[in-house]
């Protein structure tokens, strides 16, 4: 990438970047402001660029996900390396999906796709994961409402009421979902999953809710590729929002008008 968009921020700790980066100092007092319900006043009083919505990046445990936030990701295909699957391994490790032994039946929440344009022969590589659509087909078709979109735009499966009909898998334009074909025992306590239900990328919601970032994003940065930029699309000051304003990015299958939260650069 050419532009000097604060490489340190992208290279550095993403959670830090999104929760405030160089504005770390006022963080200490933020929760107190909220707790005192003086948030609005406080927000006005803080330095420019500090938004209340950003608080959701490290929301208190007892606070619901906020509709003011919309989590999203910008994937730079020019930075994504062919042959690198750090994001995939990180996801498998974080969510205890295990190694993919049977690619036909094992769950794959994120996968690398190698593309070659038929007309020109141009080739590129990118990660494909749940696109967390605004108008998600899986949410529309789910008979029990187990597929749902959280206030902050994360599309999840409530596996307490998923009956395993797999209609969402038929409806998803990205093949982002997997069905759990076998019993499991080795779950991450924060990522419950079991036989007979459908699952997909959660954007590592268990980490997000406590101020973290998705494991794949972290792994990508850890490899030094920085092809995945994560943040709050609704916050005009966030790194991702600024980047989206600067460069041309696209939704995959934009013709379906699903309003994906994952966008791709250089596609």
């Amino acid at each position: 990438m050419s532009e000097p968009i604060e490489p340190t921020r992208r290279a550095g700790d993403e959670a830090q970047a999104e929760t405030g980066g160089n504005r770390a100092a006022p963080l200490h007092s933020r929760r107190d402001f909220i707790a005192a319900t003086a948030a609005a006043v406080a927000g006005l009083g803080l330095a420019p660029g500090i938004r209340l919505v950003e608080v959701a990046a490290a929301k208190p445990d007892d606070e619901p996900a906020s509709a003011k936030v919309r989590w999203g990701m910008l994937i730079d295909t020019t930075r994504c390396q062919t042959g690198c699957d750090a994001c995939v391994s990180a996801c498998n490790k974080e969510n205890h999906l295990g190694e993919t032994r049977n690619p036909r039946t094992d769950a794959q929440w994120i996968r690398k796709i190698d593309l070659t344009e038929e007309q020109t022969g141009q080739s590129l590589s990118l990660p494909m994961l749940c696109q967390h659509c605004d108008n998600a087909p899986c949410v529309d078709v789910c008979p029990t409402g187990a597929s749902f979109k959280r206030a902050d735009g994360i599309v999840l499966v409530d596996r307490h009421i998923c009956i395993g009909c797999r209609y969402c898998m038929m409806a998803c334009p990205y093949k982002a979902r997997s069905f759990v074909h076998e019993p499991h025992e080795d779950q991450n306590p924060l990522v419950p999953r079991g036989q007979g239900t459908v699952e997909s990328c959660t954007l590592c919601v268990h980490r997000l809710d406590r101020g973290g970032t998705p494991a794949c994003v972290e792994a990508c940065a850890g490899e030094g590729h920085h092809a995945m930029l994560f943040g709050d699309l609704n916050d005009p000051q966030s790194a991702i929002a600024r980047r989206l304003r600067e460069v041309k990015s696209t939704e995959v299958r934009a013709d379906l008008k699903l309003g994906t939260a994952i966008r791709y650069e250089g596609l």
Binding site: R111, T116, P137, V141, P143, P173, V180, T197
Partner: protein, 397 residues
């Protein structure tokens, strides 16, 4: 009005118990498959993350579609006032209930969490055509059951007509909704077409009538009688019209689809080089399920056995059609990046293989077995089989 009564307790007891045992055998096999799926997970089936709906769904959707179609015989009698059809209305209603029960049982048995069936009945997402279908199915059960009662109980006869009307419109809506399960899948080349819903209605007409004719012939053979020739001739012609219309809709769907450049590759797959799917289409759906029955039905000469053979072929063709629609549609790779060749660890860009297991077939046949057993018992204990001559019949009343 035609003078008719119903045969009481047709057939010999030995035959009844024998047939019941046959049905029970298939039911048990299905139950074993169900336990296997439930215990080990769907890993024991041929289905995977690419072919998410397999053989059980082929059978289930066929049974559900046929269920709404088989009610037509009753509708023609009640709604359109065609007298020759009226004596056959109860059997038609019974078959509708039995087939629907069979189809839904297969869907339920194939769920990843069949233990949560109660969740499916208590949590509704009204935006989901699947959930709406469940409402239609429950309503269908209630309406057809009530309609059946009015048909069989003389004192309730005045209610038969309004209920018949309701059942008729309900079944149209139901099949529209069933077809829409596929029609609403925008992303897949094979589906996402408005023609799916009306096409499914036509299919249901054909499959339902075919099953009715088979059932009727079987019952006649069981009690040693034979169906009234004039009515049979009418039904024969009707089946020919339905089969022809089904072929027409199929042709229209594929021709319009061929016209869109983006669909051309998929059409080429189904029509030319899709292997088993192409075979299922040309040999199964078009040949066995369309052309052959048409020839049998329209060739001059006596009908009788030929109608039954043609009906059986229509049923086989219907299963082939469901295979092409459901499995062929998923075998074709989902196009995520138009204009790119793709490859990944998740079978992007490849035609998905599918090898169904015995368990899946057991589950599917179990649906037929359930419908069969329900019909068998009902026909044995209640009076469903009409007899043309009033004298003598039903003397045990």
């Amino acid at each position: 009005m035609a003078d008719y009564t119903y045969v009481d307790r047709p057939g010999r007891p030995a035959a009844f118990w024998g047939l019941l045992a046959l049905g029970a055998f298939f039911l048990l096999a299905a139950f074993a498959a169900f336990l296997d799926f439930e215990h080990h997970g769907h890993i024991v089936s041929g289905m995977d993350n690419q072919i998410v709906w397999g053989v059980p769904h082929v059978f289930a959707v066929f049974l559900i579609v046929a269920a709404s179609g088989v009610l037509n015989v009753a509708s023609i009698g009640t709604v359109f006032g065609k007298l020759p059809y009226k004596p056959h209305a109860p059997l038609s209603g019974l078959l509708a209930l039995a087939l629907l029960a069979g189809g839904l049982a297969v869907v339920a048995a194939d769920l990843g969490r069949p233990d949560r069936l109660i969740v499916a009945m208590t949590h509704f997402n009204f935006k989901s055509i699947f959930a709406i279908n469940m409402l239609f199915y429950s309503g269908f059960f209630a309406i057809v059951a009530a309609y059946l009662v009015t048909l069989m109980e003389r004192s309730l006869k005045p209610y038969a007509r309004p209920l018949g009307f309701l059942a008729f419109f309900w079944r149209l809506a139901l099949t529209t909704a069933t077809g829409s399960i596929f029609g609403f899948l925008v992303a897949r080349s094979a589906y996402g077409s408005a023609i799916m819903a009306p096409m499914f209605i036509i299919y249901s007409f054909a499959y339902g009538l075919a099953i009715f004719l088979v059932a009727q012939a079987a019952m006649a053979a069981w009690s040693g009688g034979r169906p009234d020739a004039a009515t049979l001739a009418r039904m024969k012609n009707l089946l020919a019209v339905f089969v022809g219309a089904a072929l027409y809709f199929t042709a229209v769907m594929h021709l319009t689809s061929l016209y869109f450049a983006k669909q051309a590759a998929y059409e080429r797959f189904i029509l030319l080089d899709g292997g088993v799917h192409t075979l299922m289409f040309w040999l199964g759906q078009v040949g066995v399920g369309g052309v052959l029955p048409l020839v049998l039905l329209l060739a001059p000469g006596s009908c009788g056995r030929r109608v039954v053979v043609a009906s059986l072929l229509v049923v086989l063709g219907g299963l082939a059609q469901m295979w092409v629609t459901i499995i062929g549609g998923q075998a074709w790779p989902l196009e995520i990046f138009p204009g790119y060749r793709v490859s990944s660890s998740f079978q992007d860009g490849v035609i998905n293989p599918y090898a169904p297991t015995l368990g899946e077939f057991a589950l599917g046949f179990g649906g037929f077995a359930l419908a069969f057993v329900i019909t068998l018992i009902a026909v044995r204990v209640l009076r469903f089989q009409p007899q043309g001559a009033a004298a003598g019949a039903g003397s045990e009343d």
